[in-house]
Every structure is written in C-alpha cells, then in structure tokens.
C-alpha cells in the first residue's frame, strides 16, 4: 500500500475514533483531516475545498467528512441504464 493511501486510511480511522468529540466541536459542519489533525472546517463542502486550497493542501489527499448527530438512512442501489 502506498504511503499516501496508508496516511489517508489512518486519517479516516482517526476521525471515526474521535467522531463524538469532533461532532461536539464541529456540529453540522464538514471537516478535513490530514495527519490526524483537523486542518479545515466549513459549513458546506465547496467552502471546505476553498479553505484547503488557500492553505496549500491538496483537497484530493485529505479525508473529509460531514459531522452530524442526525441519523441519515442510506439506500443506494446504483443501476446503469
């Protein structure tokens, strides 16, 4: 596995393990995690991407998630027509 991919996976695990505390700090917001640190947060995803670019961080390399305590049901069949 590449180092970038390992780091990305570790950041995903970090966010998952700290989800409760991060949800309290960033409720109903998008956050970006890089090297196990929140490097940006924003109300919507587009603004998050802009903030990351302003900081010189490649958005495509950062783990991003929306932190919400609201339960959302995902049902995702995807059929090519």
């Amino acid at each position: 596995m590449t180092t970038e991919l390992e780091r990305f996976r570790d950041d995903a695990i970090y966010l998952d393990e700290h989800r409760e505390e991060l949800m309290k700090k960033y409720p109903e917001r998008w956050v970006a995690v890089y090297n196990k640190q929140v490097v940006a947060d924003a109300k919507d995803h587009k603004k998050l991407i802009e903030k990351l670019k302003d900081k010189g961080i490649s958005p495509g390399r950062v783990y991003r998630a929306y932190l919400s305590s609201k339960e959302e049901l995902l049902i995702l069949p995807d059929v090519a027509l």
């Binding site: 590449t2 990305f8 998952d16 919507d44 995803h45 390399r61 305590s69 339960e71 995902l74 027509l81």
Partner: protein
Amino acid sequence: MIRGRMLGLSGRRRPYVSGEIAIPFLSVEGNVDLLVDTGADTTLLAPNDAQALGIDVSRLQQGTRTRGVGGDTPTASVQAMPILDNSTFSLTLRILAPRDRSQQQALSSIPSLLGRDILSQFALFFEERTNKVLLLDPQEADALNLS
C-alpha cells in the same frame, strides 16, 4: 486480500475501503473512501469526491444514467486506475454529474461507491462485530472451503 473497515456512528456503521484513484486523461490523482455496495453495478465517484479531486466533468464523455432510490442522475465516464491496498485495477469510472443545483444538493451526502465491477473479482467478508471488511482473492476464498 484487500482490507477495509466499518465507519460511522454506532448502530449505523458502514463498510468502506480506502483507495487511491488515478485518472491519466485528466492528470488527476487522489484518495477516496469507497462504500462497499454490492447493489451497485459499477464503481462510482460521488460529486463531492470529484470536486475534491478537481475533476471537470464537462471535459469528460457523457456516461450512462444511473438509477437509484432518488431517481435518475446523469454521469460522466473516464478510464481510471483505482488502487486498493496493493491491487491496481483498470476500469471505466463513472462520475455522478448532477444536472442542477438542487440535484447537487440532494447528492451532497452520497459517498463514492465500490461496485461489482471490482467486487466481483473477490469474495466479500464483512462482520460488524469485529469491524472486519475483507475482499478475499479467489485462492483465499477457496482455502476457506465453505461449500
């Protein structure tokens, strides 16, 4: 073997696999978390991930529409090389291309999907109790001697 893990709030944890996706035509590379979706015909990039990777879907060939619970959505398609753990694939990646702002909004929380174009090459083992999400190679699956 490709290893994933369960992520999310307690009681609603979902199986994900982290990947690196390269799109040579656009000179784009980046990381994406893919939700394992055995109901998805193909692997699919969500609008937010496309945005993060800097993909301009208007430069891409129009793909087939997709049908989901929320209705039909246009897609763009492009040749891509996803890397999952140490396995590299070559496939036509479809990217959701919402037709307007309201559809973009509706799809904003949709994750990218790991579909059966990749999953069909493996045996899928997932167990929430132990947080295990494994894609087993044919030899590994045969060694289980399940039949």
